[in-house]
């Protein structure tokens, strides 16, 4: 973040709270993603929630923090769009599209129409007794990746300006 009203150094409280809150948000997002089939949640919600966690880091710690502190590498200067983390966000949403579409093609390979989803039940699983897996989870994962990748790309590019 540079210039203007957001330029001030965030307080210690803000920094500490962010450190505590971001993991909570991320865990919540993952929970929402996984339970989406039966309870409120799903790829879209989990995606936007994950994005807010990153947005919080960006706002409190600045754009380069992710790369310098967490990934231990030098941020690309200037904050280019063809390289560095923006490129990687791009890879995330590309991969998401591939996962979502590829899952659909898998259905075609099995002889069902494109994007047919199936559900499987496993009996006798410890703790759960009966465990349900829907192939739609794969598609949801794709949705999640696309939303996260795309929104973070936008945030990072806009933030860099």
């Amino acid at each position: 973040m540079s210039g203007g009203s957001l330029d001030r150094e965030p307080t210690v409280i803000a920094r500490t709270v962010t450190r505590l809150v971001v993991p909570v948000i991320l865990v919540t997002a993952v929970a929402l993603l996984l339970q989406g089939h039966n309870l409120p949640g799903g790829g879209f919600i989990a995606g936007v929630l994950t994005t807010t966690a990153f947005a919080l880091i960006y706002i409190i710690y600045g754009l380069d923090y992710l790369e310098t502190e967490l990934l231990h590498r030098r941020p690309t200067v200037p904050f280019g769009t063809g390289t560095g983390i923006v490129r990687e966000y791009g890879n995330v949403f590309a991969a998401g599209l591939a996962v979502a579409g590829g899952g659909g093609l898998a259905a075609v390979a099995l002889g069902f129409p494109f994007l047919t989803q199936g559900v499987a039940f496993f009996e006798g699983v410890p703790v759960y007794h009966e465990f349900e897996i829907a192939s739609a989870v794969v598609f949801d994962l794709g949705v999640y990746a696309v939303v996260v990748g795309a929104l973070l790309t936008i945030l990072a590019v806009v933030g860099a300006e």
Partner: protein, 810 residues
């Protein structure tokens, strides 16, 4: 025999697949991509060859739930056009390898050219009017790209735009014609179909179709509409204007465009519809159109100053001959058209390649600067002798036979009509045919003379062309010669069986089943053995032509003088119209470049149409029920409205954004009240992100807030009120409706785990969150599209920023 389904489908897939792969191939092969493209074309030619001898329809279900299918049809005519497109394609690609050496944009060039060939194959084999139209327009689009290949040259852009405007607008008329046919088929065949050929199609029930069209009084309109499509595509007068400009394209493209694709689509259409729509009206319309084109453009070709211009006009002229042939009645007419398509493709492709060689090696295309080229280009000169004399219609070269057929058909039509008490005006048909042919003879000989006589002083050194350029031309010339000599040997009793059988099968595809007699597959041609009126017509053509040739220059100057008169030039009208539209005041009123103008127009029209529709349908507002108002809802909605008003009145950007998020959060609470937990969650989070991104961007923007003039505010307020009122009425009406069969019921029933189920099942969603099950299971395809939109938005944002970083700022 039924055509092979696989071969037919592969034929449509291969060129487009090849086009798609071209950029990758180009990275590996570079300029040798030409040979890759030639190989793709050769595969197509092989596939067409494998279909030879088969007839029938292949139907591929496309969207079965809507009854939409892709129907393909194989018969002689389709095979002829398919053979030409792929066969000439092979040669054109090979030739491009030499011609395009060092030219820019080659990957694009080969990809487009392959797609062009594929679209033409699609036109040839489509058995369905919709498929035909789609491929038809695809040829227009790809030829637009090819003609405009030199993007920096104004002439090339002008030519590309012109061909696009003329052919696409013609195509739209044709589409209307198709729709009328579709409608008529509903009554004539019992069900409305777009199927053109095959079982239960329009062609199979031609008589019923014509009768139905006639009773509705739509026969002539349909003829005119379909004719407009064909005439614009095949450059018939007065739509011939785009063809000479199209020579701005690289020469291989011109050769392809003029001999085997694009313009052949128009005559193909005429041939294809001939069995369906042949009537007396057809005869008058197409014979007149064809003969007029043949004559006018032959005269224009005489006046040409550039060799490619000469060839372009001559193409239009020969297309006129083909259309005239298809226009005339009887087997003879069909034979004229069918045989001349083949002959013209052979000699015209050869001549274009010759023109390319001349332009490439002599460095000029101006007719007056060229001469005596046979010393430097002996092979090319030999090819030209065969091709140009064929074009002139001299025996024993190939063009002679088809021209003779035209004279024969014209003579028969005229004698029959006059014998039946028709007016002597019918004699105009053979007379005009001869008159036009004289000019054809003149310009053909003029083209030939480029190679003979004295070599002008100014013409510098002429290099030898590479083999890649001469070989295709020589091959085409040899084929043309073979067809011509086949007529000579046929006179002695030895027929060129493959050619005759092939043309015979084409004729089968174009004759009128009931009206024409005999002729099925029995086509043969030979030199005339006795003196007939039509032989005399040929003799007259050659005689007058030879007598007039010494004064060629004077004829040419005369034509140029007439051509210089503006109102006689269709181009003058075209330029005037296009230019006039571009400059007219109407554009300034309609297109102000101001967003508000468009928004006002759009809003008011939408509001008026919507309210008008309600009024017209006599819909009354539902009765008000004065009960069931939830206090929480009232509060939330009122806060939202207050927030929105505050946004409108916000003194600064920051204040506006903050109040905007008040509205957003109120909407989130509304979702909670409306029992939509997923929506509420998403809305809350997204609203936060929107706020962040707004603040980030606003940080960089000036705090602009212009004061609004009172009058303008009043006017905008009225527009806004109209929109608001429309929305209010619409909401009232639509929420009051209680549909009986709700789609949602299906989802609610099928989303959860069924009461009884096996370990694995695919027919139910198996999830309790119905909204999410809809997103990822029932409507997953939609969701895939939606996440693509999200990805696209991100890409666009990156592009907007990256574009500037690459210094593409104006």
């Amino acid at each position: 025999m039924q055509p092979s389904r696989t071969a037919l489908l592969a034929l449509l897939v291969v060129p487009f697949l090849g086009a798609g792969l071209t950029p990758l191939v180009y990275r590996v092969l570079g300029e040798r991509t030409a040979y890759y493209a030639a190989a793709v074309a050769a595969v197509c030619l092989g596939l067409v060859g494998s279909l030879y001898g088969t007839t029938g329809t292949v139907v591929v279900p496309w969207i079965p739930s809507y009854g939409v299918s892709l129907a393909l049809y194989v018969d002689g005519l389709a095979l002829l056009v398919g053979t030409l497109a792929s066969g000439v394609g092979v040669l054109v690609f090979a030739y491009s390898g030499g011609y395009m050496h060092g030219e820019p944009g080659q990957a694009k060039y080969y990809a487009t050219l392959l797609a062009f060939m594929g679209s033409m194959l699609g036109v040839a084999f489509a058995a369905d009017l919709i498929a035909l139209f789609v491929f038809w327009e695809l040829t227009s689009v790809s030829s637009f790209l090819l003609i405009g290949h030199y993007q920096d040259a104004d002439a090339s852009l002008y030519a590309a735009r012109k061909s696009m405007l003329v052919t696409v607008s013609g195509g739209l008329f044709m589409l209307v014609g198709f729709l009328v046919l579709h409608d008529a088929a509903g009554a004539a065949l019992g069900e409305a179909t777009f199927r053109l050929a095959g079982e239960g199609s329009m062609l199979a029930n031609a008589d019923a179709m014509v009768a139905e069209l006639r009773t509705r009084g739509l026969l002539v309109p349909v003829l005119a509409l379909v004719g407009l499509g064909a005439a614009t595509k095949s450059a018939q007068v007065p739509f011939h204007i785009w063809l000479p400009n199209a020579m701005e394209a690289p020469t291989p493209v011109s050769a392809f465009l003029h001999s085997a694709t694009m313009v052949k689509a128009g005559v193909y259409l005429v041939g294809r519809f001939r069995p369906l729509l042949f009537t007396d009206e057809w005869l008058v319309l197409f014979a007149a159109l064809g003969l007029a084109t043949m004559t006018v453009t032959a005269i224009l070709a005489v006046a040409a100053s550039d060799i490619k211009e000469l060839l372009a006009y001559s193409t239009a002229s020969h297309l006129g001959l083909i259309v005239a042939g298809f226009g005339l009645s009887g087997v003879l007419g069909a034979e004229t058209g069918a045989f001349h398509i083949l002959n013209h493709a052979l000699f015209k492709a050869a001549l274009f390649l010759v023109a390319g060689i001349v332009a490439h090696e002599a460095g000029t295309r101006a007719i007056d600067d060229l001469g005596g080229l046979y010393r430097d280009l002996p092979v090319t000169a030999a090819v030209t002798v065969v091709a140009a004399l064929g074009m002139a219609g001299l025996p024993p070269f190939n063009g002679f036979y088809s021209k003779e057929l035209l004279f024969h058909a014209a003579w028969e039509v005229a004698t029959e009509a006059v014998a039946g008490g028709g007016s002597p005006l019918w004699w105009l048909i053979p007379a005009v045919a001869v008159f036009g042919s004289v000019f054809t003879f003149l310009y053909s000989i003029r083209f030939l003379m480029l190679f003979f006589g004295e070599k002008p002083e100014a013409l510098g050194e002429v290099h030898s062309p590479p083999v890649a350029m001469t070989a295709p031309a020589a091959l085409l010339g040899a084929l043309a010669l073979a067809v011509g000599l086949g007529g000579v040997t046929a006179t002695a009793g030895v027929h060129l069986a493959p050619v005759e059988a092939f043309v015979g099968s084409v004729v089968d595809g174009t004759v009128v089943a009931a009206g024409d007699h005999g002729g099925h597959g029995n086509f043969s041609y030979h030199l005339p053995t006795k003196v007939t009126p039509y032989l005399l017509m040929s003799a007259l053509t050659v005689g007058v032509g030879a007598a007039a040739y010494p004064s060629f220059d004077r004829i040419r100057d005369g034509v140029r003088a007439v051509r210089a008169v503006d109102p006689l030039r269709p181009n003058w009208y075209y330029d005037g119209t296009v230019h006039g539209l571009d400059r007219s005041a109407a554009i300034d009123i309609v297109q102000t470049g101001q967003l508000r103008t468009y928004v006002v127009a759009l809003s008011l029209v939408t509001a008026a149409l919507t309210l008008g529709a309600y009024a017209a349908a006599g819909t009354g507002l539902p009765a008000l029920v004065a009960a069931g108002l939830e206090p929480a809802l009232v509060v939330v909605l009122l806060v939202a409205v207050v927030g929105a008003v505050a946004v409108g009145a916000a003194p600064s950007h920051i204040a506006g954004v903050l109040t905007l998020s008040i509205v957003g959060f109120m909407v989130a609470i509304f979702y909670i009240l409306a029992s939509a937990p997923d929506l509420a969650l998403t809305q809350l989070v997204v609203e936060t992100l929107v706020l962040v991104i707004f603040l980030l961007v606003l940080d960089k923007l000036p705090a602009f807030y212009g004061s609004i003039p009172r009058l303008r505010a009043l006017r905008d307020g009225l527009v806004a009120l109209a929109v608001g009122a429309t929305v209010t009425v619409t909401v009232l009406l639509s929420t009051a409706a209680t549909p009986e069969d709700v789609i949602a019921a299906y989802f609610v029933e099928n989303a959860p785990v069924p009461a009884e189920h096996g370990p694995v099942f695919v027919d139910a969603g198996g999830g309790g969150n119905i909204v999410n099950v809809i997103l990822v299971d029932f409507r997953a395809f939609d969701t895939l599209g939606e996440i693509s939109v999200v990805a696209m938005a991100a890409l666009s944002v990156v592009t907007l920023v990256a574009m500037r970083e690459r210094g593409e700022v104006r």
